[in-house]
């Protein structure tokens, strides 16, 4: 299907997209639509990657606008409907994640713009009866170079619609870019400063009811019985219905729904996890780490190398479950009717959500319309493989045959699972007499969130979940004998990708442990890393840049510690230097983070900078405060008072340096997260002489080693 209405429809062809539906006919191509130009000169860019703060609306528009030679002030954006033409080119479905939005659309969106420009030029040339080669484009106009005649894109829409789209179109040389590579202002800032930006929670549909859901207090629990009398007695409560994930209390607004849910009486069958306890779980993981596990990497002969080591280290690292906690609590509006269903939601996984809604309603996918709103933060939490937060709303709406908005409270969110998996790492390494590592044996224990899902086949290879071992299996340091293994921890607690996924724990462990090896070798941690990075010149360059910018070779201020880390994730390499001190009140003060990133060619330097700032806050928050723990099967944390967030007064100074690079373009939304925690904890080590191997930071970690 193509997008229609309001002027010129620009279509172009993508290989491998099934049957085509029209303009012009070519059997093995399907028209694709990312641009709409109106007679009012407005250029609407149809965006297929959810805007959750990472800047997809702006960066993807830059790609189109540049090749189209558009007037930036005439660009507006619209989110795409669910349709195969908008599928993520690598995921094969509509979705946003993995820090892919810009690089994965680099060719397609530029081609969309260039195709549009070609058709507009042809249309103008025909109008003037001149050769297209004598025309140029500039800021939304086609100009005839010899006569100076000009027509705006809006004036050309009818004619351009008749032009056959070219199969191959010439794209600009990088030197001619007007928007790409420039710090273009975000397109969505005005609406985000006056309260008019529409998030999922802001959707209002006539006749809409609000539902809160009582979910089992222990993961895997079920409703045994419930009594809705007291809930129904609350004025405004309209219905109490059981759905697959709990009991929905439906009312004419949030507050009566909340009071109704508070009054609801439910007896739960807590199920198999009712005795889950974080301390016991830690011991269980420690035992699991002694098992050989599934081998992710085996180079050389670790056991033989153990005989030859002059010095050996063996340590364990333990990292907790973490909640994403986007600022906008999860929510979804669904309006199920006999022969249609409409859904409004801030989601990262449109296609999967639509398919799940189809299964629940029995409607065909074509009968379901899913509108993607702005997302008040995502960080992976809105890319759910089981579509649970959409399914809940669809189920409730189907039961009531009325539009329903399901709202999660902050407590529902923090207690609601889909956490970054807890991770236990057991590592041993040996150094030769010169201090170089001759073996590295690494055993990771964590859950898999793709096991048993449709993504298993893609993400679990040879028994190893790639998301569990990324960052270690591709260790950037030269170690001749390397063994990396994974033991899958038992399931039950729902887990998920959390901004930077596996690298969120492996980055901390690898960059902490390499510091430990440097210390054991009596070497400077920066020099030690460089020495072992000969096979990774890209890492080396980024590390050298951050060290130079942070003044690594100059002495640090008295009372301060300085730490360094470098991690590759999502196709980019990020290095950071942290400067910290311990306050009189025995708290950690992070003064400054200097950050260098190589993400390949740059689309918007200010977006990259903003993402690095955001990643640093996200990673630092987790390092200082983040942990979800269990007692008797129940999550102990509930809101921002006990699942704390970094705040303005704790914000370090951040300096970002973007490398001039010709590497393949990578992501920027996540790769700034992994280096923060190790850089900060390595800096703390300089002050205390004690290694922090478990996060979040504890008061005892700040005391000097005695």
């Amino acid at each position: 299907t193509a997008i229609t209405g309001g002027g010129l429809l620009l279509s172009f062809y993508m290989p491998a997209f099934g049957k085509n539906s029209g303009i012009p006919a070519a059997t093995d191509f399907v028209p694709n639509a990312f641009i709409r130009i109106g007679t009012d000169d407005m250029v609407t860019v149809i965006i297929n990657h959810s805007e959750m703060g990472q800047g997809s609306y702006t960066s993807l528009s830059q790609l189109v606008a540049d090749e189209l030679d558009a007037d930036w002030s005439k660009i507006k954006v619209e989110f795409a409907p669910v349709d195969a033409v908008y599928n993520h080119p690598a995921f094969g479905m509509m979705g946003t994640g993995g820090s892919t939005s810009t690089w994965v659309e680099w060719d397609r969106f530029r081609k969309a713009g260039a195709t549009g420009r070609y058709m507009l030029v042809e249309a103008a040339a025909q109008t003037w009866n001149v050769d297209a080669s004598t025309c140029k484009t500039e800021k939304g106009f086609v100009i005839h170079t010899t006569t100076g005649k000009k027509l705006s894109y809006g004036q050309l829409v009818d004619k351009a619609a008749m032009i056959k789209a070219p199969e191959n179109v010439k794209m600009k040389d990088a030197k001619d870019y007007n928007f790409i590579g420039k710090p273009v202002k975000r397109i969505d800032t005005p609406e985000k400063t006056n309260g008019t930006a529409v998030f999922g929670l802001d959707i209002n549909v006539p006749g809409m009811l609000t539902a809160l859901i009582a979910r089992p207090p222990v993961f895997g629990g079920k409703v045994k019985s419930f009594n809705a009398d007291k809930a129904k007695a609350i004025p405004g409560v309209k219905a109490v219905v059981e759905i697959s994930r709990g009991i929905a209390v439906v009312a004419n607004g949030f507050w009566p729904a909340k009071l109704g849910r508070d009054a609801l009486e439910v007896i739960w069958d807590e199920g198999a996890l009712s005795a889950l306890n974080s301390i016991e779980q830690g011991k269980q993981y420690e035992e699991l780490a002694k098992q050989p596990g599934a081998i992710a990497k085996n180079e050389g002969d670790v056991n033989a190398a153990k005989e030859k080591a002059a010095k050996k280290l063996e340590v364990v690292y333990d990292l907790p479950y973490l909640s994403h906690s986007p600022m906008e609590p999860l929510n979804c509006v669904a309006d199920v009717k006999a022969d249609s269903c409409e859904i409004w939601v801030g989601t990262q996984f449109q296609t999967m959500d639509l398919m799940a809604s189809s299964r629940i309603t029995g409607l065909k996918p074509g009968q379901i319309k899913l509108h993607t709103t702005l997302l008040g933060g995502g960080f992976g939490r809105r890319a759910v493989i089981d579509s649970h937060f959409v399914s809940e709303a669809v189920e409730v709406s189907k039961k009531l045959m009325a539009p329903v908005k399901v709202v999660w409270t902050r407590e529902d969110d923090i207690k609601g699972g889909y956490y970054r998996p807890r991770a236990h790492h057991k590592i041993s390494a040996g150094l030769d007499a010169s201090g170089k590592p001759i073996y590295w044996q690494h055993n990771i224990v964590c859950q898999s969130f793709v096991k048993g899902t449709p993504l298993e086949a893609m993400m679990i290879q040879n028994g190893v979940d790639g998301a569990a071992v990324e960052g270690v299996a591709n260790l950037p340091y030269t170690v001749p004998n390397l063994q990396v293994a994974w033991n899958m921890a038992p399931g039950g607690v729902p887990t998920l990708w959390w901004r930077s996924v596996g690298s969120s724990h492996t980055g901390f462990v690898v960059e902490g442990f390499i510091d430990e090896l440097a210390k054991a070798a009596g070497k400077d941690p920066y020099e030690y890393r460089l020495m072992l990075m000969s096979k990774h010149p890209r890492h080396k360059k980024v590390l050298e840049t951050v060290a130079e910018k942070a003044g690594w070779k100059k002495p640090v201020l008295p009372g301060r510690g300085r730490g360094i880390a470098v991690v590759e994730s999502h196709g980019s390499v990020v290095a950071q230097v942290a400067e910290v001190s311990i306050t009189k009140n025995n708290t950690l003060k992070v003064h400054k983070i200097v950050c260098a990133i190589d993400c390949g060619p740059i689309v918007n330097p200010d977006t990259i900078k903003a993402q690095m700032e955001g990643c640093i806050v996200f990673g630092l928050t987790a390092a200082l405060y983040g942990e979800i723990t269990f007692e008797n099967g129940k999550v102990k944390q509930s809101n921002f008072n006990n699942y704390k967030m970094l705040r303005m007064n704790e914000m370090p100074q951040v300096e970002v340096h973007i490398m001039d690079s010709t590497e393949k373009m990578g992501g920027v939304g996540e790769p700034g997260v992994p280096p923060v925690a190790p850089a900060v904890m390595n800096a703390l080590f300089m002050l205390t002489g004690k290694r922090v191997r478990s996060l979040p930071l504890r008061p005892d970690d700040l005391k000097k080693k005695v």
């Binding site: 202002k185 998030f199 507050w255 960080f379 700032e613």
Partner: protein, 153 residues
Amino acid sequence: MINLKVNGKAYEVDVDPSTPILWVLRDNLGLMGTKFGCGAAQCGACIVHLNGDGIRSCVSPVSRAAGKEIITIEGLDKKLHEPLEKAWIQEDVPQCGYCQSGQIMAAAILLRDKPNPTDLDIDDAMTGNICRCGTYPRIRKAIHVAAKLKMQK
């Protein structure tokens, strides 16, 4: 029935008096600019002005507003709002944008009371507002910019 004045307009609402102001604004009056973040006065996404004071509307019962004037992001005085909007755009502050109504409502009170705030003033005034995207350094910069813009007027 509770009589309310919101952004200069009079309303009569029929809700339980314990209903937080936030939900009256959003569910009864359709003013969606004020956001729900925590429901526990922890994050500041719901800040509105009640007779000129910044309050957490998620924990303030609507009975507290009877006979008083509520100002939300939709009705913020232009003299305060415009310099903040301009500065927020200039510094490209928002990412997801969800917390920004609350940030701007908090910043507006800061600039009204301290036209030329120091970094410490900004810490004091803004530490109650959580931004999960980490726009803190830009908010700080933008407040300084807005202070200058406001003084130029």
